[in-house]
Every structure is written in structure tokens, then in C-alpha cells.
């Protein structure tokens, strides 16, 4: 589906519900995922993403020919996330300016890097890599990342310790990194 067709842009400017519905269905999920990773809080992420969609509607009359929906939304969500975390836990954990700078420049995923990742369409490769994880490791990984359970919930459900869950998650990511290594190397070169 093309999010930038001239017709869609026109309909957005005119405030057509159908156009806003289409854009919402296309981008709500990926944006929630993106914001959730930055904010570590699904409900807060949902608020941020909803506000960005509302702002798109509010500002519809400013939409011009050649307007690109996806970069606009990712930038908008990123900016709102930055505002939100500057006011909350990051301030506690990243006490000095140096650590804050480090966090914002190196740790937080920029909207540009995020969209480049989406364009690579790596879902199939990732699924294959996840399938290759050891059974227990995969089970825990899926409960965490697909079902969205917290480490505590997983520990309770599987009747194992939090430490075991954390250790298995680390193993999962390290193995995924190795499995996807060549792929990630390739993206890395392309993006920078």
C-alpha cells in the first residue's frame, strides 16, 4: 500500500475520515512498537502515538503536495517521545548531561534509522533466526517479545526465577545478533 499517493494526500488535506483511517491502520502498529521501545511503557507509547495522529488531523490544512506521511509520523512520534522521557525516568538514570547526550545520540533509535530498518524488510530473516534458538530460550523470547509479557510474568508462568528469564533473554539476543550478523553488518554499511 502506498502511503504517499497524491490522492491520499488530497483526501487528508480535505479531512476525509477514510484517508485518516487508512493511515492509522498502516502506521499505528509500527509506531506503537517504535515508541514502546523508546519509552518502555506501552500505555504511554499509545498516548504519544494517538496524540501524533490527532496532530496530523489538526494540521491537515498545512499538508502540501509531496507531503510524506511516514517520515512525518516517525519524526512526530520521536519528538514526542523525547519530550516524554526528558521529563521522566531517564533524568533519574542519566543524571549528568554527558550521560544524557550519550543516551540521545547513541542509544535512542532515530526515526531515520528506524525507517531504514523497516525498508530492509527483515521480518523473514528474523523469524528464521528466532526459530533456530534453543527451545526454552525461544519459548521465553516469544513470551516476552511477541506476547509482551514482563520478565516477572514469564518467571511466574513458567515457574522459574527472574534471573533465569534474564539470562535466557540475553542468550536469545546474543544468538540472534550472531545469526543476523552478516545481515546487520550489511545494513550498518548501508546506513552510515
Amino acid at each position: 500500500m502506498d502511503g504517499n499517493s497524491e490522492q491520499l494526500i488530497t483526501e487528508l488535506r480535505e479531512g476525509r475520515e477514510k484517508a485518516f483511517t487508512q493511515v492509522f491502520r498502516m502506521y499505528y502498529g509500527p509506531l506503537l512498537n517504535y515508541a514502546g521501545r523508546i519509552l518502555k511503557d506501552v500505555e504511554l507509547a499509545n498516548d504519544v502515538v494517538q496524540e501524533c495522529f490527532c496532530r496530523l488531523y489538526e494540521r491537515r490544512k498545512e499538508i502540501k503536495r509531496g507531503f510524506q506521511v511516514r517520515p512525518y509520523l516517525y519524526r512526530s512520534v520521536y519528538n514526542s517521545c523525547m519530550d516524554a522521557i526528558k521529563h521522566q525516568k531517564v533524568e533519574n538514570n542519566y543524571i549528568n548531561q554527558e550521560l544524557l547526550d550519550f543516551y540521545f545520540s547513541k542509544v535512542v533509535e532515530t526515526p531515520e534509522a528506524e525507517q531504514a530498518l523497516l525498508d530492509e524488510d527483515l521480518k523473514g530473516a528474523i523469524q528464521a533466526a528466532i526459530n533456530k534458538l534453543p527451545e526454552r530460550c525461544r519459548e521465553i523470547f516469544v513470551l516476552s517479545k511477541v506476547d509482551g509479557l514482563s520478565n516477572k510474568q514469564i518467571a511466574e508462568q513458567l515457574n522459574i526465577s527472574m534471573k533465569t528469564v534474564e539470562a535466557q533473554m540475553t542468550t536469545a539476543f546474543v544468538r540472534l545478533r550472531k545469526e543476523l550478523g552478516w545481515l546487520l553488518c550489511f545494513i550498518f554499511i548501508q546506513n552510515f
Binding site: G29, L32, N33, R37, V42, C185, F188
Partner: protein, 82 residues
């Protein structure tokens, strides 16, 4: 010098947002010591970004879409009344 794989746990703690200030500082220092450390960090960060974050159910998407439509209609009503 420490093996890079020793840093995996630290990197993931920082990405998960559960690291202490000292741990974050340690990671920042480690990344400064060698450009290849930053490359390593970025690879693990990509794996993490590709496989983390909430994925809403279809019901959730439809529910949130409903909220969005309610918002749009409330604005339109205001516009018509105003």
C-alpha cells in the same frame, strides 16, 4: 582487555532501560575506547530494535482506531457548531 561478548549483558541492560548510571557510564567509556566497540554495540542494538517493542493485537488496533475516529468526529462537530 575484556572480550566483547562480556559486554552483551551490559548493552542489553542499557537498551532495555534498566541499567544504573554507573553501568551506562561504563558502556559509554567502553564505546569510546575503540571504534569497533561502537560497531559491535550498533549491531546488537539493531538486533534488539528488530525484535523488541510491543506488538498490538488486531482488536487493540481497531479499538484505538475507534478512539481516533471519535476524536476526529468531535472536532468536526465543534467546527460545524462553531
Amino acid at each position: 582487555m575484556m572480550q566483547k561478548s562480556d559486554k552483551d549483558e551490559l548493552i542489553l541492560k542499557v537498551l532495555d532501560g534498566v541499567a544504573t548510571p554507573d553501568e551506562i557510564q561504563a558502556l559509554a567509556r567502553w564505546m569510546e575506547t575503540d571504534p569497533s566497540n561502537e560497531v559491535y554495540f550498533n549491531q546488537l542494538k539493531k538486533a534488539w530494535n528488530l525484535t523488541s517493542g510491543p506488538i498490538p493485537s488486531e482488536e487493540r488496533v481497531e479499538h484505538e482506531l475507534g478512539n481516533y475516529m471519535k476524536y476526529i468526529r468531535s472536532k468536526r462537530r465543534k467546527f460545524l457548531l462553531g
